[in-house]
Symmetry: C2
Subunit: 150 residues, 2 copies
DNA sequence: GTATATGCAAACGCTTTGCCTCGTG
DNA sequence: CACGAGGCAAAGCGTTTGCATATAC
């Protein structure tokens, strides 16, 4: 509750119900969200705010260092999450498109090493794993079973 | 010359002057190119093809495994380059779009581990490093010097 | 009271699509 | 000669912007 107030004060941003809503959605969600996901989540709570407001605030919050923006290759568009929790990477189910965060990055030591070796100034990286989540694995094997019975 | 013919035959795609042009631009360029870059390169050679043709062919070529598509964070849009067998991963310069192959994948052991831990059937992964190549680092520091002198 | 946020609609850039014609195999 | 490929223009999508109004401080 007051956490949001603090975040906004820290960022020198006025407290509005729209920002309160956006941040509370981000706080409740470990996943990467698109602007529209946030818009819909708020709508489901009876809060009808303009999409452009969502976008503008995500930009402000990003500039304030509160929110982080990611481009997820293979999905289009921008994804946002609170910067404090760092789910840098994820498992992505190619069937249901759900994402499962990975809380640590196995690459940190490697990035340094390869950068030095090639004289490259490393600024960022992307890393995703594709596959089937437990749920879709089960659905798949059920479907295969059904096929075999024919 | 005939390399292009072979690539298209392998992919079961008809030989057209448009495809010849697109592939020759990609062959001459180690860089990541946007569809429009290819369009302009061809135009500079007096070859005026429709942008939608470029897009459609890049999609076909990607599906045929000849071309690879990448999203470069902090730039919008899609970037394309020829896919070569051994360049699984790469360093990508966000300034000049040049790419530097990484010959080994540091993730293999990790993929197994994380898949097991989360009950996820791992089918693939993507991994790219973004930053500044040696050349662009130099250009940047020169520009900063010039600014300081003002 | 003043600066900042909001909503709306329109513009945006990049990409995709429909439809009809053209050219390769 | 059939079917895939091309061109053009229009639509699509996610995102941004201009402008007038409303709101926090």
């Amino acid at each position: 509750m007051e956490k949001i107030e603090l975040l906004l004060k820290k960022a020198d941003l006025k407290y509005t119900k729209q920002r309160e809503g956006i941040l509370s959605v981000l706080l409740q969600n470990e996943k990467q969200l698109r602007a529209e996901d946030i818009y819909l989540a708020l709508q489901n709570n009876g809060k009808e705010y303009s999409l452009s407001t969502i976008y503008r605030n995500l930009i402000s919050l990003e500039q304030a260092g509160i929110v982080e923006k990611t481009d997820i290759p293979s999905h289009n568009g921008q994804f946002f999450h609170l910067k404090t929790e760092k789910h840098l990477h994820q498992l992505i189910c190619i069937s249901c498109k759900d994402t499962y965060p990975i809380d640590e990055c196995p690459l940190e030591p490697y990035l340094h090493e390869i950068g030095q070796k090639q004289g490259f100034q490393v600024l960022g990286h992307s890393f995703e794993i594709f596959g089937l989540c437990p749920h879709c694995q089960q659905k798949n094997s059920e479907r295969e079973l059904a096929h075999e019975k024919k």
